[in-house]
Amino acid sequence: MALEATSEAPTTTPRRTRSFEQRAILTVSKIWSWLFLIVLIVFFSFEGTGFVSIRNSQNILVAITPILLMGLGQTFVIIAGGIDLSVGWVMGLASVVSALVIRDTVTLLAEETERQGLSSALYSVFAAIGADASPEAFAIILGFILGVGVACVAGWINGVIIAKLRVPPFIVTLGVSFVARGVALLLSGGNIVGGQPRLLRDFGNESLFYLVRGEEKAFYILHRPELTGNDLRLLDRILAWPVVIWIILAIILGFVLRSTQFGRHTYAIGGNKEAALRAGIPVDRHLIRLYILSGFTTGVAGVLNTARYSGGSSIAGDPLLMSSIAAVVIGGVSLFGGVGRVSGTVVGALIIAVLQTGLVMMAVEPFWQYVIVGIVVIMAVLMDQARDLIVGRAEA
C-alpha cells in the first residue's frame, strides 16, 4: 500500500535493523483495527439479541453509508496532510439542493405536460431529451447531478483557497462549512424539503437482492417479491442501493489510491510536500482535485440521504461529521499525512456502526458508545505514533 510513496520520500531508519519487537508492534499497528472489529462482532454475537442475522448485517451496511461516504474523500484529503471539516454541512446542502431540484422538476414537468406539449417551448426541450418518457427518473437524475455538483463546487472552493492562497485547510473548510450551512438553511427555510416522487424513495430503500426467509424459492434478484401483511416481516433486503453505491465507490477509490499515479501523488504530498514539489508533482492542482473528490463523495452521501428519507434535510450531515473523521482515524489514516488506505476507513466506519447497533441490542445505556469510540480513536493515534517511532514518518 503506502510503500509506493516511499520511493519519493527519504527514509530515516534502514529496514534491516528492526528487532523482533519492532516488527511485532509494526504488524499489530497495521491490523489492529481489523482484529478489534472481529472481537466486537464475536462479542456482540454472544451478547446482543438478534445481532447474528442477515437483516442485522444489512442494517449495519446501510447505517455506515453516510459516514463512510464522507470518510472516503476525507481519507484522501487527510493522507495528503489536509482536513475537510466542511463535509457535514456540505452533505446537508447537497441533500437540500437535490430535493429542491427533484421536487420542482417533477412539478414543472407535470405542468408542462398538462399544457399539451406543442404549445410549450419548454416541453419540447424536455421531450427532445426524452424526459417526458419518465419525468420522475429525469428529475431524480437531474437532482442527483446538481446535488453532487454543488458539493463538488464547495470542494473546489476549499481546494483553490487552500492550494493557491495558502490558507490552512482547517480554517478554509470551517469557513466553507458555515457558508454551506447558511445556504442550505436559506434554500430550505429550515424545513425538510418533502414532496419527493415514489421512485426516489424506492431507490433509497430497495435493494439489489431479496431474501424471503422460510420459503421454498427464497432468493430474488432485482425483483421484489409481492408480500403483504405479516409475510413482509420475512423479507430481507440484501445490498440496498445505497450500499451498492458505497461498495462501488470504495473499490474504485481503493484502487485509485493504491495503484495509480493519483494515489502515489496523494501519499507523496502528505509524506513530504517539499519533496513532492521537487519531484515535479503538480501539488496545487492535485490538492484542488482532492478537495473536489471530498466534495464529491460527500455530495453522494447527501443525495442518498434525500433518497432514503424522501426529503432533503439541511442538518442531516452535521451530527455525522465527527463520526466520519473518527472512522478515517480508526482506519489507520495518520492525521499527519502520508499514511492510510481506503479499506482502513471502511473498517473504521464498520467499527462505529457495529458498536452503535450492538450496544442497542444489549440494551446498554446508549452513551457508552461515545466513550468506547473515543477510546478507540485515541488507540488509533497511539498505534500511529508507535509505528512512526519504529519506521519514521515517511516510510510507514
Binding site: G50, N56, V62, G229, R233, V360
Partner: protein, 326 residues
Amino acid sequence: MSKKLLVLALVFVMAVPFFGASAQDGEDLPRIGFLPGVVDPFYQVMELGVNAAAADFGLEVVTQYPDTWGPTVQTPILDAMVARGDLDYIITAPVDREQMIAPLEAAIEAGIKIITVDTFVGDGDYVNGPVTFPLSYIGSDNVEGGRIAGHALAEALGGEGKVFIENTNVGVSTTEQRSQGFREAIAEYPGMEVVGEEYSLDDANTAAEQTAAVLQREPDLAGIFGVNVFSAQGAGNAVVNAGLGGAVQVIAFDATEFAIEQLREGVVTMVIAQKPFDMGYLAVEFAMADWRGVTSLPVRVPTGYAVITAENVDDPEIARFIYQVP
C-alpha cells in the same frame, strides 16, 4: 386548575380586541420582539400567529431566528434585541430552562417584559417556582402531550404490546417531559411495557439505526413513540424497511408538512399536533393586554393538542393544525 386558566385565556381572547379597536389611532403602542428557539416549521407557524395578532393590533414585531438550538446561539440574539433599546416586550422560547435565566433577567433589567412560549425557564411555574419574572408561559403541556401519545398508541394496539421510545437529546425539557408523560400513560395498561429508550441526537440516520437494532432485539415490538420529527422519521424508515409498516405503530410528535407526508405514505401512523399559531397569537395579545394595564393575566396557558391519523387527516377541522408554512 388548567381549565380555569383556559377560561381566563378565552376571556382575554374575546376582551383584548376591544382594546385593540382604540389602538389604531396613532397612539403609543408597544414594540414587540419575537425570538423563537430555532428555525423550523413549528416556530414559523408560531410566527404566523404572532404576525396575525400584531396586524390586528397594528403593532410592529421584530423577529430573529437562531439557526441552531442552544443557549450559546440564542443568548447573543437576545442581547442584541435588548441592546436595540426600543422593545417593550420579548416573546421567546428559551432553549434552556436554567441557562437562559440570566440572559432573560438582563432583559428585564433593561425594562423589557418577557413572555415565554412553547418552553419555559425555571420549572415553568411563574407564581411559586424559582423563576417568576416572565409575565406568562403559553405553550403545550408536554407531559400531557406524551400522555396523549401514550393513550393514542395504547388504543391503537388494544392496550397490549411492547413499545419503545426514540428520544432526541438528554436535558431538553420538552422531549424529556413527552417521554415522561408517555411512560405514565403506558404504565396504566397492564398488558403494555416500555422496552427501551434511545437518543437519536436529532439525527434521522441515528434514529433509523437504533430502531433497526431494537426491532432485531425485540421481534414482537408493537409501537414506537418518536418524540420529534427526526426521531419519528428515522424510526418509521426502519420499521418500513423491516417490512413492519402498519404492523408496528409509529407515533410522531409535531405536525410538520413533512410529518404529514410521512403519515400519508404510511411511514408513521399517528401525528400529535401542537398549536403553535395559538401560542404566537395569544402571546401578542397578552403583551397588548399588559400594555393596557391588565393585571390579571394567567401565568400559565396550556394550548392543547390534536391527534392526526390517516383517517382524519383530510378533515378540515383537523387539517388546520398541520404546521403549514406559506
